[in-house]
């Protein structure tokens, strides 16, 4: 294959993959928000079970990582700001960085590692064990039964986890601010609130929701494309994590650009 053919083939495959993700996502969202009004059952209990696994059980690790990220942000910001005698800007730097970018992104990375891989492994194993075929022979659509509850759970839980991550990040920055940058807790919180605009938080939450949809779509897609054999389940899981990270960064770039160009001047 020539270089042109390779690039063309990769582009076509990439676009087809994104098309597949979009189809999976729209099918699932229709199953959650449209089909119940047309008499088709959607068991909310399955989403609740998924939400517990995706959200509640991720709280400890998200808390720890976000706290450390907040502290690291504060340290790095202070390192430069002290040259200009502007240490009081540390609180703003941490707050804006966490809410706009690092809160959603680091939460997405944790969710990819915990849940995106689990989705791929679960569905991949079901495929190998013919459980997906069994669903079809029982006239149950696998996307509606398996994927839609995950989409709803992620759509709700990833933004919630992001809010918590933002809070923990600010707390981590506050520990540095109070201990080494002459802040009191009161002044640090005041500075944080003054720096934040509702737009920062909203944009971060929109990104978080889109990350949640992306992670679910990629994880489930990789699960459904698992080949025969247990080795293929491992391959799907790894592929789900790698592709999810890449896709999340792409989505991040797109939405950050949108927010930049639509921001009021």
């Amino acid at each position: 294959m020539s270089l042109t053919e390779t690039i063309g083939s990769a582009t076509i495959n990439g676009v087809a993959y994104i098309g597949g993700l979009a189809r999976l996502a729209t099918g699932s969202l229709r199953a959650v928000f449209v089909e119940p009004f047309h008499g088709k059952k959607f068991h909310i209990s399955r989403s609740v079970h998924q939400a517990m696994a995706v959200g509640v059980e991720a709280l400890p690790i998200v808390s720890l990582i976000s706290f450390f990220i907040g502290t690291i942000l504060a340290l790095n910001a202070a390192y430069e700001l002290r040259k200009f005698g502007a240490l009081q800007v540390v609180a703003s730097a941490v707050a804006i960085s966490m809410t706009r970018e690092l809160g959603p992104l680091m939460t997405a990375v944790v969710v990819i590692g915990r849940s995106g891989s689990a989705f791929a492994a679960e569905i991949g194993t079901m495929k190998v064990n013919e459980e997906i075929d069994a669903l079809e022979t029982m006239a149950l659509e696998p996307v509606d039964f398996l994927v839609a509850p995950k989409f709803l759970a992620m759509l709700l839980m990833v933004p919630c986890l992001t809010v918590w991550a933002d809070f923990m990040g600010v707390l981590g920055g506050g520990v540095f601010g109070v201990s080494a940058a002459s802040f009191t807790w009161g002044s640090y919180i005041r500075a944080t609130l003054e720096a934040l605009q509702s737009r920062d938080i909203t944009n971060g939450l929109i990104k978080a929701a889109m990350f949640g949809l992306t992670i679910t779509a990629v994880g489930c897609m990789e699960g459904f494309s698992t080949g025969l054999g247990s080795e293929q389940v491992g391959r799907s899981t790894t592929s789900a994590v790698v592709k999810s990270i890449f896709m999340v960064v792409c989505v991040d770039l797109i939405f950050t650009a949108i927010f930049y160009f639509t921001a009021p001047r």
């Binding site: 064990n129 075929d133 069994a134 079809e136 022979t137 029982m138």
Partner: protein, 282 residues
């Protein structure tokens, strides 16, 4: 038209008493055709056993009959409709009248046995929980698994998993039941138990049953008619006695368990792989 061995040929006869009528069915995986014009009927209330060696196409045939594969040509008539040409919605409606038991059971590992069996009832009916519980107990009792509602599939033996899978396949009181290798991987005693269960279901419910297997002992016990497949075509179709009396070489080789002749050269190997006659070497 009957052959001299009293085995019916592979032309389909559509009769009013057929549960399934397959006509000139062809199935491809990519460019490779697996089934080359299969014709047969499953009379209502009878048990058909589809026999064949590895690679004969019997599993592909079963997957096509339940709609997991779509044919590239041909028809599958069930309840007066061409299953192969239906919309997905109509196919799903027909699937509610069928039950399928997979080779490994295919029970959902995150659900209990009771939840597995009740799943079709919860999704497709408006029955209340207490009625569904009663029906689940009834189905588990029919397959000899009373009291196992709260067990997880991982806690069951191989034979018990097969029974639980059969209970799930029966939950909607199907008209047609499909079995994929029901005795595979089981010891002879447990396999005999599964055969007895199939016979019991056959006598009690008079449903049409299609079984794919390569276990001859099971086939002789449960079949009303047997179909032998080889390389994607039906090579024999008749009652157990008719096949046992057949003098067709491929039928005799399968039923008498005669191994394939040894391959003596690369051209023989090529022919075995492709089924084609190799070109004559100059």
């Amino acid at each position: 038209m009957a052959t001299k061995n009293n085995l019916k040929d592979d032309s389909a006869r559509v009769t009013d008493g057929s549960a399934i009528s397959v006509r000139n069915l062809r199935v491809k995986y990519g460019e490779r055709e697996i089934l080359h014009g299969v014709n047969f009927e499953v009379p209502a209330g009878e048990t058909i056993v589809i026999l064949g060696g590895s690679g004969s196409g019997k599993s592909t045939l079963l997957r096509t009959l339940v709609g997991l594969e779509l044919p590239s040509a041909g028809e599958i008539w069930m309840r007066g409709k061409n299953f192969a040409a239906m919309s997905e919605k109509d196919r799903d409606e027909l699937r509610k009248k069928m039950g399928m038991s997979f080779q490994g059971g295919a029970l959902f590992g995150s659900m209990t046995v009771g939840e597995n069996v009740s799943l079709p009832l919860r999704e497709h009916t408006q029955l209340d929980d207490s009625t569904i519980e009663i029906m689940v107990r009834l189905k588990l009792d029919q397959v000899g698994l009373s009291g196992f509602e709260n067990y997880m599939p991982a806690q069951l033996s191989g034979g018990m998993k097969k029974r639980a899978a059969i209970a799930r396949a029966l939950s909607m009181d199907p008209e047609i039941l499909f079995f994929d290798e029901p005795s595979a991987g089981l010891d002879p005693i447990i396999a005999a138990g599964i055969d007895e269960l199939i016979l019991k279901l056959k006598k009690a419910f008079r449903m049409s049953i299609v079984v794919v297997t390569h276990e001859l002992a099971s086939a002789y016990l449960i079949a009303d008619r047997m179909i032998l497949m080889d390389k994607g075509v039906v090579v024999a179709n008749g009652t157990v006695k008719e096949l046992q009396a057949s003098s067709q070489p491929r039928v005799r080789q399968f039923l008498d368990r005669v191994p394939e002749p040894e391959l003596t050269g690369e051209f023989d190997y090529l022919q075995m792989l492709t089924g084609d006659v190799p070109p004559i070497r100059q």
